[in-house]
Point group: C2
Chain length 191, copies 2
């Protein structure tokens, strides 16, 4: 009974043209790059309207990720999981070195929220909110109340709502284009 034993996820080629030549010292620059990748994922029809990137303590890009759920037939291939995993493999360690930061186009779902402490990142920065994501039809899962405070208690800095209008506009563009909503068991499925 031969079972599948190899899982491969690959970023789309169009990303390469967006990668910065050097460090991005300003956090708004870093978020702009991430929002550009999220918009690119819509325009190129390579997945959901989400992107993420990991930067080191010198603000150099270590890894980028976009949502690959539909393209890769893989429900866990969220931008954050992709970016964190690629960053860890680039650093050759399952725990990122000190001072790494995860920049995300929208607040993390329950899965990605749980992935953040495992990765060793020291801070996260988000743009669109959980409510913005739910407004276009995605189910973000059951998150603990005050999830940001829970991350802070673990020593992970949280900065929210950076360029939120632009972040929300990316999500709205996905909805306007009729982008696929790939929920699994959303709350409405239950009793």
């Amino acid at each position: 009974m031969p079972l599948r034993s190899r899982l491969c996820l690959e970023l789309p080629d169009w990303i390469e043209a967006h990668l910065p030549a050097g460090p991005l010292p300003d956090v708004e620059q870093r978020m702009k790059l991430v929002l550009e990748l999220a918009a690119g994922n819509i325009d190129h029809e390579t997945g959901g309207p989400f992107a993420a990137a990991v930067f080191d303590s010198a603000h150099r890009l270590v890894a980028a990720g976009v949502n690959l759920v539909t393209r890769s037939r893989c429900s866990s291939a969220h931008a954050e999981i992709v970016a964190l995993s690629l960053a860890e493999q680039a650093c050759n360690d399952y725990r990122l070195p000190r001072g790494h930061e995860l920049v995300i186009s929208a607040e993390p779902c329950a899965m990605c929220l749980g992935a953040i402490p495992w990765s060793g990142v020291d801070g996260i920065v988000t743009s669109a909110t959980d409510a913005d994501i739910r407004a276009i039809g995605f189910d973000e899962g059951s998150k603990p109340e005050n999830w940001a405070a829970a991350l802070e208690r673990r020593g992970i800095r949280v900065r929210r709502n950076l360029l939120r209008q632009q972040g929300r506009a990316v999500l709205e563009r996905y909805r306007a284009r009729g982008g696929e909503i790939y929920n699994g068991h959303a709350l409405s499925d239950g009793g």
Copy 2:
């Protein structure tokens, strides 16, 4: 600036020898297989003491997963994520068909808990408990209170504590052998 664009995770070869020839109609058989894989991951030193498997509605094995965090330098390569992703790719859909079940050697961490609804599985079965996992030093993250009830509200059946003694014994064997504890930002890291 060439960035890593490909993420590949691969199950260790030793798993193949454990795969069943046909369906496993009894849930205890299914859990025994999963606990055998978790124990195998310790004996072969291929990762943390955790395994998972996805079965279809006829109780045929669709995909197996073991923890690959240390081996793959990837903090999200938990057994559940690996098994669900491989199952989805085997079914060629990011949402598993109706009637699929995830059997896990121990209760899910916050990340894997969040991954379960996205996958479309209709039920989960677990052995060792969250407390058993924490007792050997792993940080399971911030989970919502009554996480099992939250899954049930989404239409996902939850059966816990199946063969728990055996499940706990696997974890204790890992600790006794001095297995690596790969926490990222655990609670003790915070203020």
